[in-house]
């Protein structure tokens, strides 16, 4: 299904069928990863560029590994962000990519919508690896994949997402994906970190962590980053840990077989207690492994066809491209 698309910019744009198709494909690749030689030739001859305008370790490694497991060539570009003048560099980056004949671009950027800008300006497929506070679709997919592998389904599950919803691209992608697949999502966090009209996502807003935890099948705990905010949203990490930290005591309100997720890196003792992070409910390391399989699935579904027959370098002129009001996922030309 996703094979009709050029880009993966967010889970908001995907249908339930497309989500399922990615998850099913990811399962195939998950099996590949368990083989003695965990590598397939699916993207041989294609080149993927990993552009990280914002620091990242695990997402970048996970994408690079996924590309290599698919036999794609990879190039990496990483910058701390502050040293680059954002708008100009993005445009020039796009032009360079075009000139180098790269087929797939994985981009992380501090500005929401930066991948959309690239997607509008490139023939190459664009995968959003996290844009500002918008979406992180492959993280959402790997979280959902992990739940589905554990529970065998998504529909009807109660999922609690705890933390800074406003600034979390992980939360947005999870909410879109989970609700499309029929899960009941409850969110909890400081009122100062709840974005405007958040209930329109189709989620329940709980007044406390305890309330959100009630009967949950899944608890997804978001990383809290007070240092990156304006300083007026929450008094201190200490207060946060006390009011919103997920402890084993609070976890007791969830289902006995609840699974605990965290996108990492964790602030142990702040949003997640030590014994919860390492406890029997935690699937946090499984998420990391599944991340590679999910990213392989996305890469394959977006670009697999290019490795089979189409010329390695496209020569579509760029002038004719539309630049206004396009949806964030574009049909392949």
């Amino acid at each position: 299904m996703i094979g009709t698309r050029k880009d993966l910019l967010g889970l908001e744009d995907l249908s339930a069928e497309e989500l399922v198709s990615i998850l099913d494909t990811a399962r195939t690749f998950r099996e590949v990863l368990d083989r003695p030689i965990p590598k397939v030739p699916s993207l041989r001859g294609l080149t993927a560029a990993n552009l990280f305008f914002e620091a990242s370790t695990r997402t970048r490694l996970s994408f690079e590994l996924a590309e290599k497991r698919l036999s794609a060539d990879t190039v990496n570009f990483q910058t701390s962000g502050s040293s680059v003048s954002k708008g100009e560099s993005l445009k020039d980056t796009a032009r360079n990519i075009e000139a180098m004949g790269i087929h797939l671009v994985v981009i992380r950027h501090q500005a929401s919508g930066a991948p959309h800008y690239l997607a509008r300006n490139l023939d190459a497929g664009v995968i959003n690896a996290g844009d500002g506070t918008h979406e992180h679709p492959t993280q959402g997919l790997l979280d959902i994949f992990t739940v589905r592998e554990r529970r065998g389904k998504i529909a009807g599950l109660r999922v609690a997402i705890i933390g800074d919803i406003m600034h979390s691209r992980v939360a947005r992608s999870n909410i879109w994906g989970l609700t499309k697949l029929g899960a009941a999502v409850t969110i909890a966090g400081p009122p100062t970190m709840m974005p405007a009209e958040v209930e329109r996502f189709g989620v329940t807003v709980a007044r406390s962590v305890d309330e959100a935890m009630e009967g949950a099948d899944v608890v997804n705990i978001l990383r809290i980053q007070l240092e990156r905010q304006r300083g007026t949203l929450y008094p201190s990490l200490r207060e946060y840990a006390r009011v919103y930290g997920v402890t084993s005591e609070r976890l007791k309100r969830a289902k006995p077989d609840v699974i605990v997720m965290h996108p990492g890196p964790m602030n142990r003792g702040v949003e997640i207690a030590q014994d919860v992070a390492d406890g029997k409910h935690s699937v946090i390391l499984e998420q990391v492994t599944n991340g590679v399989a999910v990213r392989m699935a996305v890469l394959y579904l977006l670009a697999g066809h290019k490795a089979q027959g189409e010329p390695p370098v496209e020569n579509v002129p760029t002038e004719a491209k539309q630049t206004h009001g396009e949806p964030s996922l574009h049909p392949r030309r």
């Binding site: 908001e12 954002k86 708008g87 100009e88 993005l90 445009k91 950027h109 501090q110 500005a111 929401s112 919508g113 930066a114 959309h116 800008y117 844009d131 500002g132 506070t133 918008h134 979406e135 406003m166 691209r169 947005r172 974005p195 405007a196 009209e197 958040v198 329109r200 996502f201 304006r230 206004h324 009001g325 396009e326 949806p327 964030s328």
Partner: protein, 439 residues
């Protein structure tokens, strides 16, 4: 007397005098001579009358926009007084008031004089500069307001930024109140705005964008209403965007507070949903707000709470605007689309009659800034706009006279094509391709 001019056969709208009828408009020596048979006989019987037939079109006093950014001096890569006023003429405007956030800002006499001189040399419209309230628009020290007004400024404003300090706002109102000029406020609490880039609401939540709540505007409108009451000064609220602000302004007016207000076309036609797709052409400050705000603004224009209609014409280069939404500057151009957009937003849905619209684009803005014109009173300068309200045209930014191409209305089909613009009897715009009489 040089050859008089007769603009013949159009529907004359002169809302200041309650005139709405088909009549000839006579012009002699750069001034309005009169309407129809009221024009002096020596004008009408002159042997060499130049006739411009405009059957089916509307003839009204030249449009006045009291909120434009001409970018000169210092930002000539975005716009100049020459190109900006050419855009004004093309949009049917004969008079503009330009904001002082140039580089350097218009905060001392030589800079005001520079704008006045440049406008005289290269302008295609009358240009009235607005001076800064504070030096460098830094919000700390008042400018020499009386000197600036004497030099030709018609108001003071730190537009682009609000006057954040309430004490400075109070003193500015006390000083300007004496002179009868307003302080024009870009009402926006900087702390509530934070680093927001669009309206705070469901769309910003979905797009993961930092929001600017409507109250960022409204709290400052409320504060300024109280300060205007205290000082008996005149606050003019620039580009009103929020429903709550209209409620405050309405109540302020009812209390007799000297508060006037303007809005811009985009707030009447678009909502924050236009940001969908992260299009920087939908990025302006204040931001596009909700449908509820849009509806309240229309209501406020209709009942006179919002006195006049401006554009906040804010040209930027293509390089600046061709980027991701976050990095792009705030602002869109407006002079060449305003008339059509206002007809579409207000007249076509029958919120206002054409005459009521023209009132808000001529007489009312002139009153707010104490500008001459806005009427066909015999003897007034012959500033004239002729347009065909029913003829439709398509917005093509590539055809703009402005150097700015940043409009969210690209490709829109609009009513109200300008057929002739005239300043002091001199033609400043007349499209060759379009015959003056269409039907």
């Amino acid at each position: 007397m040089a050859s008089p001019l007769c603009i013949r056969g159009g529907r004359v709208l002169d809302p200041a005098r309650g005139i709405d009828r088909v009549q000839d408009l006579w012009i002699a020596d750069g001034r309005i001579a009169g309407l129809g048979e009221d024009a002096p006989a020596d004008v009408r019987s002159h042997p060499q009358v130049e006739v411009i037939p405009v059957q089916g079109a509307v003839i009204c006093p030249g449009l006045v926009d009291i909120h434009v950014h001409l970018r000169e001096p210092g930002q000539e890569e975005r716009e100049t007084i020459e190109t900006g006023t050419r855009a004004a003429a093309r949009g049917g405007f004969t008079t503009v008031a330009c904001m002082p956030n140039t580089a350097p800002p218009l905060d001392d006499r030589p800079r005001i004089e520079y704008v006045v001189r440049r406008a005289r040399e290269s302008g295609h419209a009358r240009v009235f500069p607005i001076a800064a309230v504070t030096r460098g628009q830094m919000g700390e020290t008042l400018t020499e307001i009386e000197d600036l007004i004497e030099a030709g400024a018609v108001a003071v404003s730190d537009d682009g930024k609000p006057v954040r300090n309430a004490e400075i706002m109070r003193r500015a109102l006390e000083l300007t109140g004496r002179l009868g000029v307003p302080v024009i406020q870009h009402a926006e609490d900087p702390d509530l705005k934070g680093d927001g880039v669009m309206h705070e609401g469901w769309t910003s939540t979905r797009l993961g964008m930092r929001g600017i709540p409507d109250v960022a505007e409204s709290v400052m409108v409320a504060r300024d209403a109280l300060l205007a009451e205290l000082t008996n000064g005149h606050v003019h609220v620039a580009h009103v965007s929020a429903a709550r602000s209209t409620e405050i302004i309405r109540r302020a007016k009812a209390r007799g507070i000297r508060m006037t207000a303007e809005t811009a076309p985009h707030y009447l036609l678009l909502t924050d949903e236009a940001v969908q797709g992260y299009d920087p052409r939908a990025k302006m400050n204040p931001p596009l707000r909700s449908a509820r705000d849009r509806d309240a603004l229309i209501e406020a224009v209709v009942d006179g709470t919002i006195d006049c209609l401006a554009t906040d014409h804010a040209p930027h280069t293509e390089i600046e605007k061709d980027s991701d939404f976050d990095s792009a500057p705030f602002g869109i151009v407006g002079l060449e689309t305003a008339l059509g957009l206002y007809v579409k937003a207000l007249v076509e849905p029958k919120h206002l009659s054409l005459s009521e619209l023209i009132l808000r684009l001529t007489v009312n803005p002139c009153k707010i800034l104490g500008l001459p014109g806005g009427t066909f009173e015999p003897g007034s300068p012959a500033d004239v706009t002729v347009f065909d309200p029913s003829r439709r045209w398509t917005v093509r930014a590539s055809e703009f006279a402005s150097m700015g191409r940043n409009t969210p209305f690209e490709g829109w089909e609009l009513p109200g094509q300008v057929l002739l613009t005239m300043v002091g009897g001199r033609v400043t715009y007349r499209p060759d391709a379009v015959p003056a009489s269409a039907r």
